[in-house]
Symmetry: C2
């Protein structure tokens, strides 16, 4: 027990509050260490509660806690995409990317572990959660483009760009967050316009959208 830390330990929390508190503690640990390096004892200590209490909320142990934390992070990530359907599209995309990069910045190692795979706690279920976020991102973009029935070339372009953004985020974390987030954001928006322009030459649906972006 760390004597310095104020211990909110056995304060009466509602079930929901306690659960949220444990998830928050877990997320902050996963943000700085790979999932395999985080123990339930660490989570209990970070939350200022006993190990049995963690088990009471997550009887499936670390795997269950990790998945719940991941779901909670995925939910947070989805909120990054909430953007009113107003104003120029590049500016909307830039605002969503700002929120996304803030998320990446704060979740750091946990974000990397999650996306790089090969983690001991990675399963087809955790992959499905991550894929769900990717799909949500693609749907948001298509809805901002005003497309309800995207053809294969447009869909592929959007999904490729989302993957490229993920790759950029991982490299960015790996390279001490260089270039600065604002520059990375603008550069990613420019890349989006550039790849859509390339696709427009091969796809009428994409060509019809382009004027909205430029």
């Amino acid at each position: 027990m760390s004597p310095a830390a104020p211990t909110p330990a056995y304060r009466r929390l509602s079930v929901e509050e306690r659960r949220a508190q444990l998830l928050e503690a877990a997320l902050s640990l996963f943000a700085h260490r790979a999932p395999e390096e985080v123990s339930l004892d660490d989570v209990a200590e970070a939350a200022g509660v006993s190990r049995p209490l963690v088990y009471r909320y997550f009887p499936g142990g670390k795997q269950q806690l990790y998945e719940a934390a991941l779901r909670s992070a995925a939910e947070e990530l989805r909120h990054c995409f909430d953007e009113p359907h107003e104003g120029p599209l590049p500016a909307r995309l830039a605002r969503a990317l700002d929120r996304y990069l803030t998320f990446v910045d704060s979740h750091d190692a946990g974000f990397t572990a999650l996306l790089q795979g090969g983690s001991v706690v990675e399963t087809s279920r955790t992959s499905a959660i991550v894929d769900g976020v990717r799909r949500a991102a693609a749907e948001h973009i298509l809805s901002h483009l005003g497309v309800s029935d995207p053809g294969p070339r447009l869909r592929m372009t959007v999904r490729m760009w989302i993957t490229a953004v993920e790759a950029a985020s991982l490299i960015w974390l790996d390279e001490d967050k260089q270039p600065p987030a604002e520059e990375l954001r603008d550069w990613l928006v420019e890349q989006f316009t550039a790849v859509l322009t390339v696709t427009a030459a091969r796809d009428e649906q994409t060509a019809a959208l382009l004027h909205a972006l430029t």
Copy 2:
């Protein structure tokens, strides 16, 4: 036992030949099914040998066989990037992509399982093999660009494009290999030029390279 299959079974093969035969059988199974759906019995049957023989070569069982098959596939994939440093760069890139898409086409489900993660046989070692191929691809591209000391923006652009190509391959397999490989290849080359052009506006090193590509 399938009565129809000609059984090369206990023919005398050298250790290396036998090992290659088992890997080939494993790869062809992994090409059509997720690794968790392939048993050592399947591999033995496909190679026309006994299960104990498979174990003699791969005492670590399926995990060891999978990793060996993966290394062998990674080696094959690296050969896709072998391209003489001659002629226009877009044409070189197109030829490498042709070979890459042929590889993706023939390894199909195994390629998907490998890159999508969440597989039961995925470990930090298998992830490292896949990452090694990605790094090799990036090094090849930079060497064709004639760059020995790439700055962070150029490096990031190349790595993002490689990830986007991977994403395109997975989507392509998922969408019954549409658009046709030749169209996908040309489209990917155009995207490479487009993202490099975007980066060139932010990075002198990239700007200096662009004339070679256009």
